[in-house]
Structures are given as C-alpha cells and as structure tokens.
C-alpha cells in the first residue's frame, strides 16, 4: 500500500503541468475563477477543449480506438488533480463524459464516425434532454413523445433544466416512442440537431443570477430515425448507463480542495478582517478540509480497485452525495467568511467582463452566486434522496 506516485506517474505529472503551463492563458484562468455557475461558458471551455485535443487528451475516459489517451486510473487522477489545482476551464461534459460513452457503447458505426471526432475537436456542443417539468427524480415518467413517420420521428413535448441549451448545437434526449408495461419501457435515446425547425429555448435564471439552464420546447420537430442510438424502446438502459458515468466520474476532491483554499485565503486576508481569527471559522475550515480528505481517500480506494479490475459498485452514489454535500459546505463557509459583502448583488454576467467597478473585491464576486446556485448540487444528477435510495438498495440490499 502506497499513497505516493511512482517514477512513471511523477513523470506524467510533470508532463501535465508542462502542458497546462503552456496552454492555460491568464484570460482562461481569470474567467474560470470568475464563473459562479457549474460550467464554463463555451468560448472559454471550448478553447481549452481544443488545446486538450491537440495534445491527444480530448477525452480521457474513452478507449484508444476512439481517440482516448489510454491512461491508467492513476494517470486520470493526476490529470484531474493538476487541472483542478491550476484552475482550468470546464469542457463540454455533456459531450465528452455523457453522450460520448453512450455512442461508443451503443451507437452505430456511422454515428461513431460522425459524432465522436466532432466531440473531441469541440466542433459540436452538446446538451442533455432528460428532465421534464413533470419528471424530475422520477425520470422514467417522461412524456416527450416521438411518433414514427416514415424515416423520421416527429417529436412533441418539453425538456427542462437543460444546461447550456442556448449554446448547444446538439441535444441527446430520452423520448417516449411507445407505451410499455413499465414506464421504463418504450423510451428511446435520440440525437437532435438544435437548429431543427420547431425547437425553441426559454432561459431560466437561477437564484445566483446566472443563465445556465433552460427549458426547451419541441413542436412537431422532425428527426431522422437514423439519429436513434441503439434499439427503439431501450433508451432507459442507455440513459442509466450514462447516469452512472455522470455520478461516478469519481475525481472531485481536488476541485473541492481548491474551492476551500480560495475561501481559506479570503478568511486569512484583511478583506474579511481576518475571519479566520474567529475560532468557529477556523474549526469549520478544518472540518471541511477533513471531509475532503475522506472523500479523496475514498476516490483513491475506488481508483485502486479499478486498477486491479474490481468493480466499485454503488460507491459512485456515495461519491456523488459526499461531493455535493461538501461543495455546499464550502460555499456556505464562503458566504459566512465574507461577512457584510454577502449583501452585495452583482447582476451582470459574465463576471469576468464587467464594465463597471463592482461593489465587492473581485476575489469575493463569485462567493454568493456559488452559494446560491450551489443549492442545486444535491438536486441534479439524482437528488441526495435518490442517491440514498440507491445506496440502501445496492449496498445494503434493502
């Protein structure tokens, strides 16, 4: 048993650091630090995706034949950790980490040849059409319907919480193609061009003041049957496969640590009147740091199990749950550390392109929006309550 990296892994770490130093511009770094929503805007995120792609690192989790870098779990850990440390932008997760693995797993050769290179290069920007106004946690009750008409489906219905639908040129969606015995039956997994006539997008502002999510309406939208992934009616299986990827990307602690460090730096600064001198704040910082230590060790234990080909199982739900709870603890701490500056609302976006002097120092600009928007962490990707159901069922057998 060993926590330290071997010589090969250390060499890889240097390679990653060198790559980041060469490709991460000051502009990207500042924009990332001043983004209080979950994802970077595409102008920043896709510039980073292109840099990764040039290096052959565009899709760390993919198999080699589709352009993955063939990293060991330890290498993926190092990569994610170094990226978090340096503060790199987030890429189009819905493409690289969500629809990509589904197309690789269940798509036709034509779909693989067409879509995968466009995800790697950043040419396509994907959004996820899962939730509906009436189907949140009970996702399989979804009602958006696709009716066969010759070589097309005609889609009617609506999707909600669609992250970056206003930026995306493509959507992967779960739609109902028939009514089965169980509500999970009759769902199909469809790839939709967002420029198709009949699609409209309505922005939804979150309580932190950000436009990240949307509602998307489908009004007689024609999509070729060839855009269906896998078998008709089997979409639930593919969708669940994807959700496991979404929850179990498994390397979140490094990002949490950087988030906490930013708050601890504020607490040690005169900007907050040295909030850390309050024993309560100092202890709470330690509590959160220790929680991150525990999550990091669990992530490393899972990685070690993966290296030897063991299946980590329902632990992805534990990782999702703890990551979201700790992230909220970090943002809650931040809101307390900045004191009266929590009262200032900055409505303009993006925060890295303000054309006026903000009311609070730049270091604090994201703290309140992150706290407020961050309430969503325990809701999206399966609420904490759903994760507890999964843990009880899969780990405890009840």
């Amino acid at each position: 048993m060993d926590l330290s990296f071997n010589a090969e892994e250390r060499a890889f770490q240097d390679e990653v650091r060198g790559f980041i130093a060469k490709n991460l511009t000051e502009e990207m770094k500042r924009a990332t630090a001043l983004t209080p929503s979950v994802f970077s805007d595409p102008d920043i995120g896709m510039a980073w995706q292109r840099a990764l792609h040039r290096q052959g690192w565009g899709a760390p989790g993919w198999p080699v034949e589709h352009g993955g870098p063939d990293w060991t779990p330890a290498q993926r850990w190092i990569f994610e950790t170094e990226c978090a440390r340096a503060g790199v932008p987030s890429v189009n997760v819905m493409g690289v980490k969500m629809v990509g693995p589904v197309i690789i797993g269940f798509g036709s050769p034509e779909q693989k040849n067409f879509y995968l290179p466009r995800i790697l290069s950043g040419e396509d920007y994907w959004c996820q059409g899962y939730s509906e106004p009436g189907s949140g946690s009970d996702l399989s009750s979804l009602k958006t319907r696709a009716v066969r008409d010759g070589d097309d489906y005609i889609i009617n219905g609506t999707k909600i919480w669609t992250t970056h639908a206003h930026h995306a040129n493509r959507m992967f969606a779960l739609v109902r193609t028939s009514d089965g015995k169980r509500q999970q039956d009759g769902i199909s997994f469809i790839l939709i061009d967002m420029k198709t006539p009949g699609i409209t997008t309505r922005p939804i502002l979150t309580i932190g003041g950000d436009h990240e999510v949307n509602q998307v309406f489908f009004d007689d939208v024609r999509v070729p049957v060839a855009n269906r992934v896998g078998d008709e009616g089997k979409g639930w299986t593919y969708g669940k496969y994807l959700l496991e990827f979404e929850r179990g990307s498994g390397i979140a602690s490094a990002k949490l640590r950087e988030g906490l460090k930013a708050i601890a730096d504020l607490a040690e600064s005169d900007l907050t009147g040295r909030a850390i001198d309050s024993p309560d704040i100092a202890t709470r910082i330690s509590e959160v740091e220790v929680d991150i230590d525990a999550l990091e060790m669990t992530e490393l234990r899972v990685l070690s199990a993966l290296q030897t080909g063991q299946n980590p199982g329902a632990v992805s739900s534990i990782l999702k749950l703890r990551n979201s709870e700790i992230r909220q603890a970090v943002t809650r701490l931040g809101a307390d550390v900045i004191g009266h500056d929590a009262l200032a609302v900055e409505p303009m976006r993006p925060l890295y392109k303000l054309n006026h002097e903000p009311a609070t120092p730049e270091e604090m600009l994201t703290v309140m929006p992150e706290y407020l928007n961050g309430r969503a962490y325990t809701i999206f990707g399966g609420t904490s309550e759903i994760q507890r159901d999964i843990i009880a069922k899969m780990m405890l057998g009840i």
């Binding site: 048993m1 060993d2 926590l3 330290s4 990296f5 071997n6 892994e9 330890a74 850990w77 850390i276 024993p279 100092a282 202890t283 910082i285 330690s286 509590e287 740091e289 220790v290 929680d291 230590d293 525990a294 999550l295 990091e296 060790m297 669990t298 490393l300 234990r301 990685l303 070690s304 199990a305 290296q307 030897t308 632990v315 534990i318 749950l321 703890r322 309550e385 994760q387 507890r388 159901d389 843990i391 009880a392 069922k393 780990m395 405890l396 009840i398």
Partner: protein, 379 residues
C-alpha cells in the same frame, strides 16, 4: 499509488478475522466484562504465538517490522469482536515508546519480552489538569544520588493494572527547577510509592488512576538520554489514534451489519422496519459514515511516517472525523433497535460504549478539529 492490500496483508486480515470469529463471542465478552483482569491471559498467549505482539516491533529486537497499516488491519478486526486484551497499552503505546526513545540496552531488555508475551506495559501520561494537552505534565522527576524521585498523579492509564512495567512521563527538574523537558521513566509495577487504583473502563477493558508518592527509581529507569520526550509522545499518540480509529471502523461495521439485519427482521405495522424510507436513508447515512471513517483511518495510517505536522494533521483529522462518525453510527444503531437497544440484553450497547470511549480518549472531535486548524496555521 496503490491502496490494495498486499498478499501478506490479506493473510494477516484473514488470520485475524478467523481468530476473532472463533475466540470472541457474546459469552466471552460478557465474561470479560465481569472479570477483574478484564481480558484473557490465554488469548494473550495466542496473540504472541500468532506474532501479533511482535508485529510492529523492530526486527533486531525480535519484532516483525510491520507498519501502521498492518496495525490498522489487526485493530479493525479487534473492533469487530470488541477485543479487550491490552494490545494498545502494551504494543501500540508502551513498546512503541521504548522503541522510539530507549537505549539499545533498554530495547533489548524489554522488546523481545513484549514480543513473546511475557511483558505487559502501560503508558501513564494524562493528568487531570492537563485535559488533552500532551505538553502539560506536572508530575515531577528530581535527580537523586541514586537515580530519580518521581511525584505526582496520572489518570486514564489504559490497562495499567495488568502491566508489569509502567512508562510514566514526568517533568524533569534540575537544581534550578523545572527544565522544560519531559522524561519517560520505566517503573516496575511493584515499586514502593506507586499506588494503582483500577476501574472498569467504558466499553470494555480496564483503566486506572495512579499516584506516585516519592517513587525512587534507579538511574537507568529514564528512557534514552534525557532529551525532551514530547515529540516522541506526540508521534506515539498520533499513531495510537490511527490504530484506535481502525478499531472504531471495525466496531461501526459490526453495528451497521447488526442494525441492518434487525431492521429487516423486526416488523411493525405489518411490515419490516426497513420497508420505511426514513429507515433506509438512515442506514444509508450510517453506511456512508462507516466508509468515510474507513478512509480516514487508512489515511492516518499511511501518513504515520510523514513529517510531524503532516502526520499530526492526518491523525487529528482522522480522530475528529471518525469520532463524529462513531457517535452517529453508534447512536443511530441504538435508535433503530428501539427500546431493546438501551438494554444490556443486546450487545449493541457494549459496541456503542466502546465507540464513545474511542471518541473521548486522547481528546474528542472538538479538540482535534481545533488541533488540526492550529497545525494548519503553523504549516
């Protein structure tokens, strides 16, 4: 980076699990709870035969040279069976202090005997006024013509009643008064002036208060050359906290399994308790906290040989976090067992009490979060 058990570590775990499954059951635990010694000398002999007493000792003194991870594997299994033998007092605290501070002669005189089971040790350090501050020692050691004279009192000495020798910490005084150095003194349990009052310890085993009324010791009772022993004490207690953390994980795992089983069998309103979502979620939270505790105990063990501040932060972080998890898992285990959980008729209470003892020993969660924060500022 690899956190999988090696083949040797797997063997150690298997043999420990087998031993606990065969030798430790509810009857045995009940007997030990009412035993004036608090543990079984026959079991101690088996520990020696299995090589567990030699496990972490240096090879040149009859040991096996094992590390904190191996101790953790053993301790987690001890937790599952609620083992009450004085392993922490003798091996994790006592022998470790001798190995860390003693001269070659002192190590040769003690460690092989610890390994073969013929010498039991205890560590008398805590004092009432010091609370959890390891640096605060008022027990005094004055140089005399023949050696040393110790005076003072100690509390919460784990298994001191069973020890052949007790390692007593004392503030060394020279002709100018207190020197600012803590010394460790090896005291035979039979030394005149040493008064040991033992009591049953919360959660099993025994502990004692010790009074030292002008205890006269030979010159070579002082471990090592008289350098300040505080860094060695801190290191030893940090490592002991990692070991006890692993034991707490084993206890929690047993409580989780027992409680899970109970909620499946116990029927109310015509259905098992586990059919209720509120119960399932509680158990999910318990499982999650056991897992977090397991991660922290392993982390503290893996960082036991790191530089002092890193080691100490890992140990305090683990102690604080595992303590918090232990209280939650223990209290919820009782809650989900209903009224029966509060009785001595089930073993849930015994496991719970050992967890409470863990949380308290060497300082509770609040103390260790504060220490973690303080060390972070110094780092």
């Amino acid at each position: 980076m690899d956190l999988n058990l090696s083949d040797e570590q797997k063997l150690l775990r298997e043999s420990a699990e087998r031993f606990v499954a065969q030798s430790y059951d509810a009857d045995h635990r009940r007997k030990m709870a009412n035993d004036p010694l608090g543990f079984s000398p026959a079991v101690w002999k088996q520990f020696a035969e299995l090589g567990w007493l030699a496990l972490p000792l240096p090879e040149e003194f009859g040991g096996l040279g094992g590390g904190a991870v191996e101790i953790g594997i053993l301790m987690e299994t001890f937790g599952r069976g609620l083992v009450s033998e004085p392993y922490v007092a003798t091996v994790v605290l006592g022998a470790a202090l001798i190995a860390r501070c003693g001269t070659a002669e002192q190590k040769q005189a003690s460690l092989p005997k610890v390994a073969d089971g013929s010498l039991k040790l205890a560590f008398a350090h805590s004092e009432r006024a010091a609370r959890f501050d390891l640096a605060k020692v008022t027990t005094s050691a004055n140089k005399t013509a023949q050696g040393w004279r110790l005076a003072g009192s100690k509390t919460a000495v784990l298994d001191g009643h069973a020890a052949d020798q007790i390692i007593v910490s004392a503030h060394i005084h020279d002709h100018r008064g207190p020197s600012g150095r803590i010394g460790l003194f090896l005291v035979q349990a039979t030394t005149p002036g040493l008064v040991i009052s033992d009591y049953p310890r919360l959660g099993g085993g025994r502990a004692c208060n010790i009074e030292l009324f002008d205890v006269h010791l030979p010159e070579d009772a002082l471990l090592g050359d008289g350098q300040d022993a505080l860094p060695a004490i801190e290191c030893t207690i940090d490592r002991a906290m990692a070991a006890l953390g692993a034991e707490a994980v084993g206890i929690m795992q047993t409580l989780l399994e027992t409680t899970l089983e109970y909620t499946k069998i116990r029927k109310q309103f015509g259905r098992p308790l586990s059919a209720n979502q509120v119960i399932r979620h509680r158990l999910a939270d318990m499982a999650m906290q056991v897992d977090e505790a397991r991660s922290m105990a392993l982390r503290a063990a893996l960082k036991a040989d790191s530089p002092p501040v890193e080691r100490a932060r890992a140990a305090s972080g683990a102690k604080a976090k595992i303590g918090k998890c232990a209280r939650f898992v223990g209290e919820q285990s009782i809650q989900l067992h209903g009224g029966m959980g509060v009785t001595e008729e089930l073993e849930v209470g015994a496991y719970f009490k050992r967890l409470v003892a863990f949380d308290t020993l060497f300082g509770g969660s609040a103390h260790h979060y504060a220490r973690h924060a303080e060390l972070g500022r110094r780092a």
